[in-house]
Subunit: 482 residues, 2 copies
């Protein structure tokens, strides 16, 4: 790094600039220790301070939510989100701006979503439940379908079900385990009900699947999300119930009530629609052909406004690179921002990127994703091997002052997952997870749930890690290709 560049950035961010960092005699070995990046501490402090001093990342997210509150793949809102991304990247001074096309699934919720408790066959509604169709679900005929309800709480009950659900709605009511300290672990164990509930319902001869929302919160927001049908099984409609609705239903069934429901959904799947990833770069000063990718997804479920999932990640990715550019911190390698299409219901953007950039993947040094909400950063997860894990840990140790030093094994994120087989080390930002499933895929995912300072802390952590990896004289250890 040129000392003059460092002085500019420190003067902008700190009242009393620390002494300039000296380059070490030799770059740290690949199996790094925590102290090996100590000489970068002043830079990281300056990056974090600059991020905390500027709420631009929140203003950027505000603009996204204003122009494209609804932006599911294939919707007109998604196209407006693409325009937002290009505009923000242009304002950030990124180079090589472009969209890269893909074809994405095109599912529409439609106007009708209703689950009513009815008295007797074709009877009047005596109560409505808060529901949201799962993404990809088929609709019902106009007027809906009616059946009684059979409840299963967990795989064991499903396996022991026998014929009992034939002609009924099958109600999947295994709650996420609140005692799991990591809510993502609880989600991971329960989410099969959402992704496979419709198929399991069909296998059991049921007419539809009702799935308790994937959240730890007791409230009346249903949480949608992706699901898939099995090729050899009938396609039956599937919806998420709010947790309060699920509790009411479970209570009635436990009391021996025969609950009859009428479900009406107007959702449908249309032909695949043109969509696009959006890309911009800060070109590297020494090895411009080597790429450090920072990604997030531009689409969002349609029930909230996707402020956390993943508007936050998109705004952070752009703001992090903007921050480095503003500070004059042009790294050795190229930073590439990729905002992906269609993460939520297909990963079409992620697949297209991996295919279209096939020739270039050997020069993708690392990919970082932010897709777990715009909360205070706690650290990172990674699929890197032991050398990379140690190196990442040594870098993250510099983020201890903001509580973001923890590195754990993991997969990085869905969008960058398509780069894994080529050996690209994958890293995910891990923010505080306590609130994520309050908002995830639900109407509560609004801008009011985002704290500007948390977004700024996350942006600082991302910018610091991008800088450390992209400016490192050593190349981050690659994974074996699969």
């Amino acid at each position: 790094m040129k000392p003059s560049v460092l002085c500019v950035c420190l003067a902008a961010a700190c009242s009393a600039p620390p002494p300039p960092a000296a380059e070490p005699a030799a770059p740290p070995p690949l199996e790094a220790r925590a102290s090996d990046f100590e000489f970068r501490r002043a830079e990281v402090e300056a990056i974090v301070a600059a991020s905390l001093a500027d709420d631009g990342v929140f203003r950027s997210l505000e603009r996204l939510i204003e122009v494209a509150p609804s932006r599911l793949a294939g919707s007109p809102g998604y196209d407006r989100a693409v325009e937002w991304a290009l505009s923000e990247m242009r304002d950030a001074g990124l180079a090589n701006l472009r969209t890269e096309p893909c074809l994405a699934p095109h599912w529409q919720r439609g106007d009708v979503e209703r689950l009513a408790r009815v008295e007797g066959e074709g009877g009047a509604s005596v109560g409505e439940y808060a529901i949201a169709a799962l993404g990809g679900s088929v609709g019902t005929p106009p007027g809906g379908i009616e059946a009684e309800v059979v409840r299963v709480a967990g795989r064991a009950e499903l396996e022991a079900l026998g014929d009992r659900a034939r002609g009924a709605f099958l109600f999947f009511d295994e709650a996420m385990d609140p005692r799991e300290i990591d809510p993502f672990a609880a989600y991971g164990r329960a989410v099969w009900q959402r992704s496979r509930g419709a198929a399991e319902a069909a296998r059991a001869g049921a007419l539809g699947a009702l799935v308790r929302s994937m959240t730890l919160r007791r409230d009346d927001f249903p949480h949608t999300g992706a699901m898939r049908y099995e090729p050899d099984l009938p396609q039956v409609p599937a919806v998420a119930l709010s947790t309060l609705a699920a509790e009411d239903l479970a209570r009635r069934l436990a009391a021996g009530e025969r609950v009859r429901l009428r479900l009406e959904l107007s959702c449908r799947t249309l032909a695949d629609a043109p969509s696009a990833n959006v890309i911009g770069e800060l070109v590297g000063r020494e090895k411009p052909e080597e790429i450090v990718l920072v990604g997030a997804h531009l689409d969002a479920w349609d029930v909230g406004v996707g402020a956390h999932d993943d508007g936050a990640g998109c705004a952070e990715a752009i703001a992090a690179v903007r921050l480095l550019k503003t500070m004059g911190l042009q790294p050795r390698r190229t930073l590439r921002v990729v905002l992906y299409a269609n993460e939520e219901n297909g990963l079409a953007g992620a697949r297209a990127y991996a295919a279209d950039h096939r020739e270039e993947l050997a020069r993708h040094v690392l990919a970082l994703e932010s897709d777990r909400g715009g909360f205070s950063p706690r650290g990172f997860d990674t699929n890197a091997g032991p050398e990379g894990f140690a190196r990442l840990s040594a870098m993250a140790a510099l983020l201890e002052p903001i509580g973001s030093a923890r590195v754990q094994p993991g997969d990085g994120g869905a969008d960058i997952s398509t780069l894994g087989p080529s050996g690209v080390p994958l890293v995910g930002l891990v923010p505080d997870g306590a609130r994520y499933f309050d908002v995830h895929h639900a109407g509560r995912d609004t801008l009011e749930q985002v704290a500007p300072r948390e977004l700024q802390l996350a942006t600082g952590a991302i910018a610091a890690l991008l800088w450390l990896v992209a400016d490192d004289p050593q190349t981050f250890p690659r994974n074996p290709a699969r």
Copy 2:
């Protein structure tokens, strides 16, 4: 601990109970190491798991906000909050329930709070600013007072002010420094403007003080808070401006505009009013006369509903002791919940408690306070000496799995501060601070800003620490009395 008790609690909280903890051959030395409380790990895990499995603490807070959304000292709402506290403690099965009276300052905001930009003397309003009178401020005559504005950003500018603010409003516009990683540090450096602004304005011959809100957020919520007058100086009205209002005002002044404002306030101070602390206990099984106190304050500023400040702390304190009782974990010493009156504008409850319990303070083993919002816990601060600091650190190490292991020097909290001179070690829960000043003393401090899971994590951390201290065969090291 009786093994049967432990088995009950573990069975309730965990699907696979860990093996019962063995009592160590000898209790850990006062200068403890992290491993010295390792034999308590299963208990702490069970306490945390039980807290995560039960959102009762949030329901309790909901009830407080429903019956007493406004509960400043002396208001009818405060009396309803006392009723809430007694009712919650009774439901929790606490013993020795009582209120203990005190006399608290009685300040009323009144209906009129208006700051208008006017054109010429007695001119029409051409714009209104979002303001809140500071607690304790005098009002204005009906019709208000009018003056031009002089801005000072920081102490140096105040000292260099000379005669320029005579007959004007003095506008204190030093922002909290967003680059401070700990927002409480930034608050601590800037808050003199709020607490002393009126006195400094009077000293400068100004007619009133306008203070930029103590927050890092740019929005239109004014943040109120305590202030005090100096005995030998005139009492001039003082208000907080929202940060957007402050920015607008600063921009106009920087552009050379002569800004004339009309301020009208109907706030006033009445005679001191009867108030009360609320107390309940879980009596110790071996040393009931020794007390571990857990405190929070029951009053709140009137501009929001005090969901975080300090409804959260009150609900956590009761829920933590309730949790231990429900689990059958009756500690050696007595746990005493004290919900204090009048923290916000006088500390009358804290003073009364210290005076009324003078004889008993030598048997107060430790006091823990939660008054920094209902966010995810990160650790504790304490005024304990080296032995106590080490012991607290060793206990807190067991909370590493929920990210609450960090112990730092500090004062514990305002309400328990009156116990410090007697040598009682003071400990404060330190939650994540990123969002606290978004809501602190402002209209944004609502229930919607509280995440049940974060409250539950904090409750688990409090319950675990109370258990470790109150059941410890060793007595927590005392501070020297002052």
